[in-house]
Symmetry: C2
Subunit: 242 residues, 2 copies
DNA sequence: CGGGATAGCGTGGTATGCAATGTTCGGAGA
DNA sequence: TCTCCGAACATTGCATACCACGCTATCCCG
């Protein structure tokens, strides 16, 4: 069998969400997703069909498909006859998303305690080491990537496909916020100990413990995010209008 | 402001999922969703673009949009160059979905404890009474509808938009299974007492209690579903092939 | 008689053109 | 000068035509 599709996306983050098929629309959606996450398309920015289609060198049809997908994921909002804009969640919505993410990850971790293999545990341990190394060398991007990878690995270890999918969607909506939060926050090592505890709970298959840790973990992330958002709001009053 | 869109779907269940815009594609998606739920399009059935487009009196374009939406929701699965088929979740996937639904509803109920208004509580009480009435007169469909309405109302009372949305998606994927399960199960009143307990916990704003009730509640639903599925599997060996 | 290759058909995938709507800018009237 | 109305433009929404891929059935060769 030959190569299935040309992987249009050569982005740094390899496919946050697994698209259903090998269609062009899904590939375009992935590219736009990356553009949104990397702030190339900031929140509130309009998503022009023709312009983007030309820029990505595809026709309007797959681009519209991509917009449908992203709209279903909540990353963009479409207004009839007025086009799509990158979603700009309010603080309240962000809070809801973070809480939801916490619940999903806590549940995933419970399942992971039951279902994990030793290989997965080792991989997590390796990621944890890598993250600590990134912390030691003050590599915030690497730290962030490892952090994400760890959470993703835990969710994947849950073996619950629906859970994995929905977590991916919620995570994508929060990705940008967490990213800039991670880059700008001062005391950015608070998660290290919690991750260590998580790993130990995972090793001991202590479901109750890991669930509590993760819900708390994500809520703390929210606390950090709040102050970040306040700062950001203070700096730039409004950015919606073009 | 005038009427926004012509509600194509006049189905019994009014819009399980709130689509984003007033586009034709979303309307078509809603119609197909109803067709899937009502078993007009049974699991495994292929979704023919041209045929369905002609049947629904729309062009292929909005129909394809609808398929994208449904695919993102997991209600249909598309294989590249081979078309879309109505999702036919395996028992394992169903189990995962049920567990996820339980977690989501449990969390929603916690939030509802915090955020509910007295009006919402009264509405829930009314629904509960209606459900008991339906049970008394052996009206399974009415019972099922009330049951769904109660769960939906609780989720809505959580005031968490993302949670509401994701719950809607998961619920839609399980709707058909729960429906036929409800119609065919023998001892179909087991949920009444639990619902009563739920309402009381909601009244007392007892978060821990309601969370436990709901997770257990949905898992029991799963147990019932399992035996149902076994019966069904025994009756009709395979239904995938056309 | 059996297996493999090829051709035909049906399907989804993509592109483009046309129609409808929303917006904005300019002119005219008060 | 300010406001309201209208027309033109830009952008999305829809439909249709064309293309590529996969499936299948038949025919030929071993």
């Amino acid at each position: 069998m030959s190569s299935k599709i040309t992987p249009i996306t050569d982005a740094a983050e390899p496919s946050l969400l697994a698209p259903d098929g090998g269609r062009k629309g899904a590939a375009v959606a992935e590219r736009i997703r990356v553009m949104i996450i990397q702030d190339e398309l900031p929140p509130g920015a309009p998503v022009r069909e023709r312009a983007l289609a030309e820029r990505l060198e595809v026709s309007r049809t797959p681009l519209r498909e991509a917009i449908k997908i992203l709209s279903a994921e909540g990353l963009v909002e479409v207004q009839p006859h007025r086009g799509a804009v990158v979603a700009d969640p309010s603080n309240e919505e962000l809070r809801g998303l973070v809480e939801l993410l916490g619940v999903l990850e806590a549940f995933a971790a419970e399942l992971a305690c039951r279902n994990r293999t030793d290989a997965e545990l080792q991989e997590l341990r390796a990621l944890q080491d890598e993250m600590m190394a990134a912390y030691a060398r003050d590599d915030r991007l690497g730290y962030f990537r490892c952090n994400q990878a760890i959470h993703l690995a835990i969710v994947k270890a849950s073996r619950n496909r629906a859970l994995i999918h929905h977590h991916g969607v919620v995570n994508a909506r929060l990705y940008r916020a967490r990213y800039i939060c991670n880059l700008r926050t001062r005391r950015w090592a608070s998660a290290l100990q919690e991750h260590e505890d998580m790993l130990q709970a995972l090793e001991a298959r202590d479901e109750a413990k890991i669930s509590g840790i993760l819900r708390n973990h994500v809520l703390q992330a929210w606390d950090k995010m709040v102050v970040m958002l306040e700062e950001a709001a203070a700096n730039l009053p409004r950015r919606r209008a073009s």
